[in-house]
């Protein structure tokens, strides 16, 4: 009995086992330019982490390394404790060792993109059921039912039979969030979800994201929305020139910026 308790205690105390996402010492170069210079991050279940930084700070690249849309040059990524296995290619670059593993993990990490990236030849409803039926192999009827419920939730059920190019940016992004939710993901990755929107459409998307945060979803959000970072997220991480400049509790970070860079960064936003 005591052995079991000890094992359980050990499992609980090991950070890798608890973390929904754990990134260690991530590095990435584009040509000569080193975009990520050893970034580490840990997201636990229910965390909403806002990742801030000026353009070129590496924040989007970091997010895209987590689901392997970009291949990191070195470092490790764990999702729910599972290490994404990498190998060396013949030209010396790192590449995924097992593409099936990557596909399986990606299905747990639904991503929401800056430019929505809905499949334009499918209706909204088809967009929501495509991956759940084909990737997760769930029954179509069940997926359709869930999709309709999700579209009601994000407030665009009336548009379920529209094609994405016929909708506003805000509606498309809400459809994209619903598409992400339809995967029942363990973690949601948001890559500047409001940056391509007209200012008057930002609010409708942020409201949906706020409600997701409130129901305890685990979210990594690359954003320029300071209000969201400060009021909604549970943690803020500030990247500067490919490194984690500072990170911490949002209210504290904004009230007392821990570094001159972060102070400068938020000062620019308040102008």
């Amino acid at each position: 009995m005591s052995a079991n308790v000890a094992a359980a205690a050990q499992a609980a105390s090991s950070p890798d086992d608890k973390a929904a996402i754990s990134v260690k010492d991530l590095r990435k170069c584009f040509g000569d330019h080193e975009v990520l210079k050893g970034i580490s991050l840990e997201a636990h279940k229910g965390d909403v982490i806002s990742i801030l930084g000026s353009s070129g700070s590496g924040k989007s690249t970091m997010l895209r390394c987590i689901n392997l849309l970009e291949t990191p040059d070195s470092g490790e990524v764990r999702v729910d404790g599972e290490l994404i296995k990498m190998k060396q290619s013949r030209d010396g670059h790192q590449m995924p060792a097992d593409i099936r593993q990557v596909e399986r993990i990606r299905a747990n990490l639904a991503m929401v993109f800056q430019s929505f990236n809905l499949w334009s030849h499918m209706t909204v409803l088809e967009n929501l059921v495509a991956a759940p039926t084909h990737v997760l192999k769930r029954p179509r009827a069940e997926c359709l039912e869930q999709a309709e419920a999700l579209l009601k939730r994000v407030g665009i059920w009336e548009r379920r039979n529209y094609y994405p190019p016929h909708m506003s940016g805000g509606q498309q992004q809400r459809a994209a969030i619903a598409r992400a939710l339809a995967m029942n993901p363990k973690v949601m990755l948001f890559d500047e979800p409001t940056s391509a929107l007209d200012p008057e459409l930002v609010g409708e998307v942020l409201r949906v994201m706020r409600s997701l945060a409130e129901e305890g979803r685990t979210m990594l959000v690359v954003t320029h929305e300071m209000g969201f970072a400060r009021d909604v997220s549970s943690k803020v991480m500030f990247l500067h020139k490919g490194e984690v400049d500072s990170a911490g509790e949002p209210k504290e970070m904004f009230a007392r910026p821990p570094t001159p860079q972060f102070k400068q960064f938020i000062a620019n936003f308040n102008k």
């Binding site: 593409i99 596909e103 991503m111 430019s115 809905l118 991956a131 084909h134 990737v135």
Partner: protein
């Protein structure tokens, strides 16, 4: 007055000749022309998508093969390719058959004329279709392909659910052009002895000495085939691009 009488004679001769059996022959010719065109388009579609994939590949060797294919088969006269496949094919088949002893040392094993013809026209059609498919693939919004990867789709699923439907949509207008080219190329395989429209018109013209009549009729029939296909492709284009044009 005499001119009108002459025209009347001409028309009645034409009617008699067509009614005497040449009309039915020409209809069969249309059938064979369409058969050659459809089969060639299908061969071309398979080859064209493989060649397009090769041209888009990251591997230099595959890209080279794809580039060479489109350069050669778009750059050579169609008739030369057809001769090469038909007569060249016959020569190869004959020497193989002779050396294996299945025919006598003076016998000739002909390349089947339909097969040789559609292979040649299909290969040419494939070169043009490859360019159409490649252009269509490049026109797909990159973000949609990225989303497909991000949602865990395998390469095959990405192809089936995202790439193929969009390539087809974008390729329809271009394929309409290739279809017209292929209808016209099909006339060239009359040299291999397939009784399509061109060969039939040729035969009729020679045996009745009414060249003007039969070539004009054949010309009209080709024009009917190519012009009927235009609205069909336009309709297909409207259907496949409905997500971009038709607000509900």
């Amino acid at each position: 007055m005499e001119f009108l009488n002459d025209l009347k004679d001409q028309v009645s001769t034409a009617y008699e000749l067509l009614a005497a059996g040449w009309g039915v022959q020409l209809l069969w010719g249309i059938g064979w022309t369409l058969a050659v065109t459809v089969v060639s388009m299908l061969i071309g579609a398979v080859l064209g998508s493989l060649v397009a994939a090769a041209k888009l590949s990251h591997r230099g060797g595959l890209r080279f093969i794809g580039e060479s294919y489109t350069t050669v088969f778009r750059g050579e006269p169609e008739l030369l390719i057809i001769y090469l496949f038909y007569y060249g094919g016959t020569q190869v088949l004959t020497s193989v058959a002779r050396s294996s002893g299945s025919i006598g040392s003076t016998d000739i094993l002909n390349m089947p004329s339909f097969l040789g013809g559609v292979l040649a026209v299909g290969i040419i059609s494939g070169a043009y279709q490859a360019e159409v498919f490649r252009g269509s693939f490049l026109a797909i919004h990159r973000g949609e392909l990225e989303a497909a990867r991000a949602y865990g789709m395998s390469a095959w699923l990405r192809f089936r659910l995202v790439i193929m439907p969009q390539v087809l949509r974008l390729a329809v207008p271009g394929l309409g052009n290739v279809w017209q080219l292929t209808i016209k190329d099909s006339a060239l395989i009359s040299v291999t002895g397939v009784a399509e429209l061109m060969l039939t018109a040729n035969k009729a013209a020679r045996s009745t000495h009414h060249s003007l009549l039969f070539y004009t009729v054949a010309g009209i029939l080709y024009l009917v085939m190519t012009s009927i296909s235009t609205p069909i492709f336009e309709k297909a284009e409207r259907y496949t691009s409905r997500s971009f044009t038709r607000p509900k």
